[in-house]
């Protein structure tokens, strides 16, 4: 799966896709490849305020657990309950059905400047 170039990335292997002032957040293919079969995702409740780059949850496979660090800060307006019910969705397609959060962000532009583009992310993971 090629890294979609319609969004920005963090070096913690998360992506942020902007649509007005709502940013959708998820993990990358690289992350799911390293984890293996995702068995559980621990996400916060809708309405929670989060700060850019802070830990917001955890993602587990059979043999590993990783912290999730949000690429953007703001108020969570929607949580992907499909993924909490069927964590395998994250493996299926981490960039579409496997999305994790939708965040209302007031200063999207300045926050996104702190993230990198698809090409830079590919370079990061090639190392």
């Amino acid at each position: 799966m090629t890294t979609p170039d319609d969004r920005r990335y963090s070096d913690e292997h998360e992506w942020a896709l902007v649509d007005g002032n709502i940013v959708t957040v998820g993990v990358t293919q690289f992350a799911t490849d390293s984890l293996g079969d995702v068995v559980y995702v621990d996400l916060p409740e809708s309405g929670t305020e989060i700060v850019q780059f802070d830990k917001f949850g955890e993602i587990e496979s059979v043999k590993a657990v990783s912290d999730l660090f949000t690429p953007v800060g703001g108020k969570i307006v929607e949580v992907n309950t499909e993924v909490t019910d069927m964590p395998e969705k994250v493996n299926e397609d981490p960039y579409s059905v496997g999305w994790l959060l939708k965040v209302e962000v007031s200063d999207a532009a300045s926050q996104l400047e702190k993230l990198i583009d698809a090409a830079a992310y590919d370079q990061l993971t090639a190392e």
Partner: protein, 494 residues
């Protein structure tokens, strides 16, 4: 494993075999007058739904289940860091003597002098073997021993007013219980890197110890099976910074009569009686994890400790005890077995244990390291860590090699630990295996080495003939099914 006869094993659970009215035991009748019952609101509304099976069914069920297990009694178990040595049968007999298995923990000391003497003598022997004379045999497993040892360290510094000592240093190769126990003890975990020879990076350690260091936790030999070349320098560095040095004694099987932990500068240690001292693993316990300390730390040991006063033995609390970590006096049944083992081996025997354990591990290392790769290319102690990266590049992982060993009747080695070694396979043969068994293991590994190139699916689909082939662990975690539920049929597979 031993199957009683070929064919499918009936895997039905007890509740699936249960038939109303069957009993497994004739319980005695009431021989006193019936007494008034309490308020009905306090009583069960209906009996607990335990299964109803007859005695012959119970015997057949459990006996058949046992045939689906590998065990030391039936198979070679080169499990690194677990020390799967022979569990002497005489130790079982001793633990089940009525005078040992039948005594109650709340009996007054004067009625259990034999038991207290046994505990006291084992305290003394373990103290002598490790060079750490302050011994508490209370902790019920290594992890509990670790936690107890860390509590001792904290209490020691608290009393000295050094309350800023809140960091536990440990190598990147540490066993998971080390950071877990440290976190429970309120310590911040800081990792010290290893060098290319598998030793603690001494320069890095120097840079990390300071006034905040509470303990440096070290496994010796390391989890790579290697003896720290600079051990004396390491313990000195920590002591010079005012910290204490903790030994994770899981690998003590390499050190009996070879060197004493106390002589090397360790202040605190725990031992695993179910590893080094031959007590059975039981499928996951019970264990026993004594905590051992230097003379000056002995007053802080957990409760209880046995003391001797002339001919009389007493169960008591050290003066500044950190308290109690479990309900009674330790895993006494396990202590009886360990005591029997130490008495049977004696000083000479214990040294022979370590000598043979070390020779056996090096024999395997020499035979297999070229083909399978080795974590560090030097003499090992009682275990060695293979690193089959070339095989992984060919598409066959350490997991596949491990599962294929099962087809040859050999339990896999410890896999993927320590975390710092890629495709780690930790092999610990122990001293109770014959050279023939080791030769067969080597031959089997070489055979598997060839299969990787000639027929890799044999490995990818291994094991082939066990009662279950590889299990879907992702499904087990995604859809946890953790107890019997009625109305589930046997072929349930979502």
């Amino acid at each position: 494993m031993s199957t009683p006869f070929p064919g499918e094993i009936d895997r039905r659970l007890l509740n699936e075999r249960s038939v109303s009215g069957r009993i497994g035991l004739q319980v005695q009748e009431l021989d006193v007058p019936e007494q008034p019952l309490p308020d009905a609101g306090l009583l069960r509304s209906e009996p607990a739904k335990l299964p109803e099976v007859s005695q012959p069914e119970v015997v057949r069920y459990f006996t058949t289940l046992s045939t689906m297990n590998f065990s030391i009694d039936t198979n070679f178990y080169p499990l690194g860091s677990c020390t799967m040595k022979y569990n002497p049968k005489v130790n079982e007999e001793m633990a089940f003597l009525p005078g040992m298995a039948g005594i109650h923990p709340n009996q007054p000391d004067e009625t259990v002098q034999g038991a207290l003497q046994l505990i006291w003598e084992l305290q003394e022997d373990l103290g002598e073997i490790t060079g750490l004379p302050g011994v508490c045999l209370g902790p019920l497993a290594g992890a509990q021993g670790e936690y107890s040892g860390l509590m001792v360290a904290r209490a020691y510094f608290q009393e000295r007013g050094e309350t800023g000592r809140t960091v536990a240093l440990m190598p990147d190769s540490a066993h998971g219980t080390n950071p877990a126990s440290a976190a429970m003890a309120g310590l911040e975990v800081v990792t010290v890197p290893s060098d290319s020879q598998g030793n603690v990076d001494v320069d890095a350690l120097k840079g990390l110890v300071d006034g905040r260091t509470c303990v440096f936790m070290l496994t010796l030999p390391s989890t790579l099976g290697l003896f720290e070349t600079n051990i004396l320098e390491i313990t000195k560095i920590v002591h010079d910074a005012g910290g204490l040095v903790y030994a994770d004694g899981a690998n003590l099987n390499a050190l009996l009569g070879i060197v004493k932990l106390g002589d090397l500068g360790f202040d605190i240690a725990h031992s695993n009686l179910h590893k080094t001292f031959s007590t059975p693993h039981g499928g996951g316990g019970p264990g026993s994890g004594p905590v051992l300390v230097s003379e000056s730390l002995a007053p802080y040991l957990p409760t209880p400790v046995v003391t001797r006063d002339g001919d009389a033995y007493h169960l008591g609390s050290p003066d500044k005890t950190v308290g109690r970590v479990n309900g009674f006096h330790g895993s006494f049944g396990v202590l009886v077995r360990a005591y029997a083992y130490v008495r049977a081996m004696g000083a000479d025997g214990l040294r022979e244990v370590s000598e043979n354990a070390i020779i056996n591990a090096n024999y395997i290392r020499t035979a297999l390291s070229d083909e399978f790769g080795i974590a560090a290319d030097r003499v090992c102690m009682h275990e060695c860590v293979l690193s089959p990266q070339a095989q992984k590049a060919k598409g066959t992982s350490a997991l596949d090699i491990s599962k294929r060993l099962i087809d040859y009747g050999i339990h896999p080695p410890t896999m993927y630990f320590p975390l710092i070694v890629p495709e780690a396979l930790m092999v610990e043969p122990t001293e109770t295996e014959t050279k023939d068994t080791l030769d067969r293991f080597i031959a089997v590994m070489r055979q598997i080495g060839k299969e990787i190139y000639s027929d890799p699916d044999l490995l990818h689909n291994a094991p082939h003939d066990t009662p279950n082939t590889r299990l879907d662990e992702a499904n087990a975690a995604r859809n946890p099914y953790l107890r019997w539920q009625p109305d589930e049929d046997l072929s349930a597979a979502d």
